[in-house]
């Protein structure tokens, strides 16, 4: 677990713009929170978690409210995953960020702010462990065990690893029927 308590962390911070000209989908982990993780001359900042050997291998980020607000760049989710995180826990998320996360299998868990604060306290110890049981929708860390809400449809997609485009293509007849009824001026 890694605590990142500040509110309103935007996707520009998660993955700065200079890394968005790449046409690949992989390899963004090394640029995660780049401006916070490096000094202006490109050296690692000693006090940021991505440079802390004790935090390497962490799989859960415990963030502040409105995490992932701002730009729609899915690169932010790719960077978080590529660095090694499987889940982000926060009091709330930017809407587009949350959709992007579900689409690529990064778990976003909303919990009340006071619970998130407790988790951040626990996470201040790099060796503290957290367990997320998506099936039962329970987060457990130390003495703390809390249930979380999760969209049933998204849960099924995450657990079963479904191909959303493939599933939608099975609705081809419905899409074609809808198209037949569209007004002429819509093209």
């Amino acid at each position: 677990m890694v605590p990142l308590p500040q509110a309103d962390v935007d996707t520009d911070q998660i993955i700065p713009k200079q890394f968005l000209t790449r046409i690949e989908r992989t390899g963004y982990g090394q640029f995660l929170f780049y401006d916070w993780a490096t000094t202006e001359d490109g050296m690692p900042s000693s006090d940021f978690f991505t440079n802390d050997p004790d935090r390497r291998g962490a799989r859960v980020l415990v963030a502040g409210r409105n995490f992932g607000c701002g730009s729609s760049r899915e690169h932010a989710v790719w960077a978080i995953q590529d660095w090694g995180f499987d889940a982000v826990i926060a009091p709330s998320f930017g809407d587009i960020f949350r959709n992007n996360s579900i689409n690529v299998g990064l778990l976003t868990i909303e919990l009340p702010e006071e619970i998130v604060t407790q988790l951040q306290d626990i996470a201040s110890n790099p060796s503290a462990e957290v367990t997320i049981d998506l099936e039962r929708q329970i987060v457990q860390a130390g003495e703390l065990a809390v249930e979380f809400e999760f969209d049933g449809d998204a849960k099924r997609r995450l657990l079963e690893g479904l191909d959303p485009i493939g599933m939608t293509l099975q609705e081809d007849a419905a899409i074609t029927a809808y198209e037949a009824g569209r007004a002429d001026w819509l093209g």
């Binding site: 308590p5 500040q6 509110a7 309103d8 935007d10 520009d12 911070q13 700065p16 713009k17 200079q18 968005l20 000209t21 790449r22 046409i23 690949e24 989908r25 401006d35 202006e40 502040g64 409210r65 409105n66 607000c69 701002g70 730009s71 729609s72 760049r73 899915e74 690169h75 989710v77 709330s92 930017g94 809407d95 587009i96 959709n99 992007n100 689409n103 690529v104 702010e113 969209d151 449809d153 959303p164 485009i165 493939g166 939608t168 293509l169 609705e171 419905a174 899409i175 809808y178 198209e179 569209r182 007004a183 002429d184 001026w185 819509l186 093209g187």
Partner: protein, 465 residues
């Protein structure tokens, strides 16, 4: 049964199947170079094709240079990204407004000015400022690259039904207060997360009095208040704007379209999940002082003190902002000196924005030491401005006059604000590092930005002569 909101009417008209989530049909998919390459690659990998290239429009805007087009793209990675989009559009038969096309520009400027954007449409794009198109009474929202791929392949998207929010702007806007101030003022009041999970409908007397371009500025920044989309019911102003544009319906189609569009208003007995009232008549010109668009205040006030905030998270956030922005509590905003002025972006890069700024600049000079730049939102905006002589006003004052693109709004190209320098910007985001690592952004209206360029510091444009 109660009536339906504008949002609900458009939603209902686009459900292909399902309820919540519903499979929504997409009428217009806008594509740009930065968030699409991985989506096209995904299609290729799965051996899929683009279902409706005729409902898809691509252009380049985010990472392209704003220097002379004849110089080409110097950065090899950006060049490759732009080339990739050109190849993808050729392969799939998608209309592409490339770098050499007179219709090229910021995707959210290009869509409306060519008549692609129309009332009642569902419009998506891999860009959060897609909310701009809601100004026409369309349901328009930003999506991620996985969703871009989904729309390319199926022309649809699975969507959870968002909540509805009405923001009523009571009274009319005072002189010197613009639609940018209206939206900044709203975000300052509701916060950057205030619209989360909602689609906002902007309503009230102050909204009805706005031009289409002013309405676009408001809907554009819906995402900065956390809302997925923002909308304004179409009216005569909307129809007049759309009429005659290249992709607008013609002849009997036009009549049928207008008849339908007139039904796109929230019914009197429609119920919104949330309603806010904002006194438009009491609004002042606004300027941002922090590192998110909610950290904004009236120009006549001063830099806030973190200690004045009761919520500890908010207090930390304000302290962090002041440190990044190098501002002292209590400093009047009008005493803040600036190094750069950026006039442009999908928020304020349209012809009316340039006219307003030119009015302020006319006959003046940019202050010593200030680097001021105008980046028209599209090549058509640029051509129009040049036909009106606005470029001459700007260049005579010492502004640099550029080619169209997103430019310093997100500084993916060379238009980077250096670390520690301060920029008065008509764009939409003042996030840390947004305009360049260590750069300090103050969001404001075009008239305010123009006045700041001449004065060399932030100015209350109501006192400008």
């Amino acid at each position: 049964m109660s009536g339906r909101t504008l949002f609900e009417k458009i939603w209902d008209d686009h459900v292909v199947t399902g309820n919540d989530p519903a499979l929504l049909y997409v009428d217009l998919h806008l594509v740009h170079e930065v968030t699409s390459p991985q989506a096209f690659a995904g299609l290729d990998l799965a051996g899929r094709s683009v279902r409706r290239p005729d409902l898809t429009l691509a252009t380049v805007d985010h990472a392209i240079p704003t220097t002379s087009r004849s110089l080409g793209i110097r950065d090899p990675q950006s060049k490759k990204q732009v080339d990739t989009l050109r190849q993808n559009t050729e392969k799939h038969g998608i209309t592409f407004f490339g770098l050499d096309d007179p219709r090229q520009g910021i995707v959210h400027v290009v869509g409306p000015e060519n008549g692609y954007t129309q009332p009642g449409k569902v419009i998506v794009c891999g860009d959060s400022h897609t909310s701009t198109h809601g100004a026409f009474g369309a349901l328009a929202f930003g999506i991620g690259t996985s969703e871009v791929e989904h729309v390319l392949a199926t022309q649809t998207l699975w969507q959870k039904r968002p909540k509805t929010m009405a923001v009523e702007f009571d009274g009319s806007l005072p002189t010197g207060v613009t639609s940018k101030d209206l939206i900044l003022g709203m975000i300052a009041q509701l916060g950057v997360g205030g619209g989360q999970g909602h689609v906002i409908e902007y309503r009230g007397e102050a909204i009805r009095g706005l031009t289409m371009e002013e309405r676009m500025t408001i809907c554009n920044m819906s995402i900065e208040g956390g809302a997925r989309a923002g909308m304004i019911a179409p009216d005569q102003t909307t129809f007049e704007y759309v009429d005659g544009r290249p992709k607008a319906p013609k002849g009997s189609d036009w009549d049928a379209a207008v008849e339908y569009w007139k039904s796109l208003v929230s019914d009197d007995d429609a119920v919104f999940d949330t309603t806010h009232h904002i006194d438009a008549a009491a609004l002042e010109p606004h300027v941002s002082w922090g590192i998110n668009p909610g950290q904004t205040a009236p120009i006549s006030s001063s830099v806030p003190n973190p200690d004045a905030f009761a919520d500890p998270v908010e207090r930390d956030s304000v302290a962090r902002a002041l440190k990044y922005m190098a501002l002292k509590p209590g400093t009047p905003f009008t005493e803040i000196a600036i190094d750069h002025v950026f006039l442009g972006s999908c928020t304020n890069g349209r012809i009316e924005d340039l006219r307003r700024a030119a009015e302020v600049v006319d006959g003046h000079k940019v202050a010593d030491g200030v680097n001021a730049v105008v980046v028209p939102g599209s090549m058509q905006v640029k051509a129009q401005a040049e036909a009106e002589g606005l470029d001459a006003i700007f260049t005579a004052a010492g502004f640099s006059w550029r080619e169209a693109g997103c430019s310093s709004c997100l500084a993916m190209n060379d238009d980077v604000i250096p670390s520690g320098e301060r920029c008065a910007s008509t764009s939409n985001r003042n996030f840390e590092g947004r305009q360049g690592r260590g750069a300090r952004t103050h969001l404001l209206s075009p008239a305010m930005a123009a006045a700041a360029a001449v004065a060399g510091h932030l100015v209350d444009v109501r006192e400008w002569s």
